[in-house]
């Protein structure tokens, strides 16, 4: 089996890897924004409930969540496709982490920002949307880029619930042609080719949003 054959085989799974990533983002972005803002604005019991939901998605091991939702939901009468389960679990897990970045970004803003908005007679919503969020999201953008890399890497898990992503294809080829060395090394390289440009982009962004400061890479 030539190197080209191996690469073409792995490439066949690239579409599934990309779809899982994109669908997961459909869960992660709204969840991260909504729950991050909710944790920032609420107090008391409501904040406790919001925190519980975030902690559930953030503190569970994502591989177990994937299996639990794939195997346990049909038992209680909810049948979702493997793709939906994968997108939901990976998305909400990433969203849980993202919510913490959103909240942290909002909390580190200077109080004067909010007070200036109030002095101008802006509503709380207007202050949040026009003043606080744009600054918080910009400051936290390197963290979001890191989370995207974590998400792409985590999509390798969907091979365990029958989705034919890059990892699944590599395993498949490796079972037919017993050449694990070039196949798995190519797979490793394939993820690197996919993720490393995003790493570099993240560093570039980090340098721009924190001028004059040491580049901090989160996660």
């Amino acid at each position: 089996m030539t190197t080209l054959d191996i690469w073409l085989g792995i490439l066949q799974g690239c579409r599934v890897t990309a779809s899982v990533t994109l669908y997961a983002l459909l869960f992660a972005v709204p969840f991260g924004l909504a729950f991050g803002i909710a944790q920032y604005l609420t107090t008391g019991l409501l904040r406790f409930l919001v925190t519980c939901v975030i902690e559930f998605w953030r503190s569970s091991a994502v591989i177990i969540l994937l299996f639990v939702f794939y195997y346990a939901l049909p038992v209680v009468g909810v049948t979702l496709s493997a793709m939906t389960v994968a997108a939901m679990v990976l998305g909400l897990n990433t969203g849980g982490y993202a919510s913490q970045a959103v909240r942290a970004g909002l909390q580190t803003l200077d109080h004067g920002q909010k007070e200036a908005g109030q002095a101008l007679g802006l509503s709380r919503t207007a202050i949040l949307v026009l003043i606080e969020l744009p600054q918080a999201l910009l400051v936290m953008s390197p963290t979001f880029i890191n989370l995207l890399i974590q998400l792409i890497k985590a999509t390798s898990l969907v091979s365990l619930i029958t989705l034919t992503d890059m990892t699944f294809r590599a395993k498949e080829i490796s079972q037919v042609h017993y050449e694990p060395v070039p196949i798995y090394l190519s797979l490793l390289l394939a993820y690197f080719v996919l993720c490393y440009p995003i790493t570099l982009f993240g560093r570039w962004v980090a340098q721009r949003v924190t001028p004059g400061r040491e580049v901090r890479r989160g996660v």
């Binding site: 177990i64 299996f67 890399i149 060395v181 797979l187 993720c195 040491e214 901090r216 890479r217």
Partner: protein, 219 residues
């Protein structure tokens, strides 16, 4: 069929029996990752060609999924005549993978110590080795306690990956029960809840430690 709560409760002691394996993997991998990570950072600081190699290795790890690393070690090593147990491969994989993340933590920890500390020690006639051990290391440990604790929780949450190599930790045990009884939902859900509880307890512990260190340094 439905979710059988009695069966779920019956699986709990069986899954908890594998708790010691989960903790063994987590603790040894943490120690391994910290040891390798610290050495990587020291080598990177030495600079030169070797520093570049270490830097690339760290970037490479951070852009590739842990699952693929485990497959690589598990399937490639026997090809070169290295026969290790699944447990050893798993611990080696987790240690190696997270060493790349911990190296970054050590880097930040060392960078944050003002140069004046080492210079003051030099002025007092303290030797280089003693400076590192008694002046730099204690301050570094305080700087890195929080991020290091977070990565230890991440390692704990990564231990179920070893189930794909058939290591009998908690998720592996849950799958054993599932394949014996043809009931997947209950054991997997129980394993999920157990892992969540474990992760929450340990991350609370880390937070407590973080707060204590913060107050003792503010004094």
């Amino acid at each position: 069929m439905g979710f059988d709560l009695d069966f779920a409760i019956a699986t709990l002691p069986l899954i908890l029996r594998a708790l010691d394996m989960t903790l063994l993997v987590a603790v040894t991998s943490c120690i391994g990752a910290a040891a390798i990570g610290f050495n990587l950072e020291i080598l990177r600081r030495a600079g030169g060609a070797f520093g570049l190699v270490v830097r690339f290795f760290i970037d490479f790890i951070r852009a590739t999924p842990i699952l693929v690393w485990l497959y690589c070690l598990y399937f490639i090593l026997p090809f070169y005549g290295v026969r290790l147990s699944a447990l050893t491969v798993g611990i080696a994989g987790l240690s190696l993978y997270y060493s790349g993340y911990l190296a970054e933590v050590f880097k930040a920890g060392i960078d944050a110590i003002p140069k004046g500390q080492a210079e003051a020690a030099q002025a007092l006639g303290i030797g280089r080795r003693d400076t590192v051990i008694f002046v730099i290391a204690p301050q570094m440990l305080r700087n890195i306690a929080a991020p290091m604790g977070n990565y230890f929780v991440s390692i704990l949450k990564a231990t179920p990956y070893l189930a794909v190599l058939a290591v009998p930790e908690m998720l592996g045990e849950a799958f054993d029960i599932a394949s014996d009884t043809y009931r997947y939902a209950e054991p997997l859900t129980v394993a999920g809840i157990t892992f969540l509880a474990l992760a929450l307890i340990i991350s609370r512990g880390v937070k407590w430690l973080e707060d204590r260190l913060a107050t003792s340094s503010a004094r």
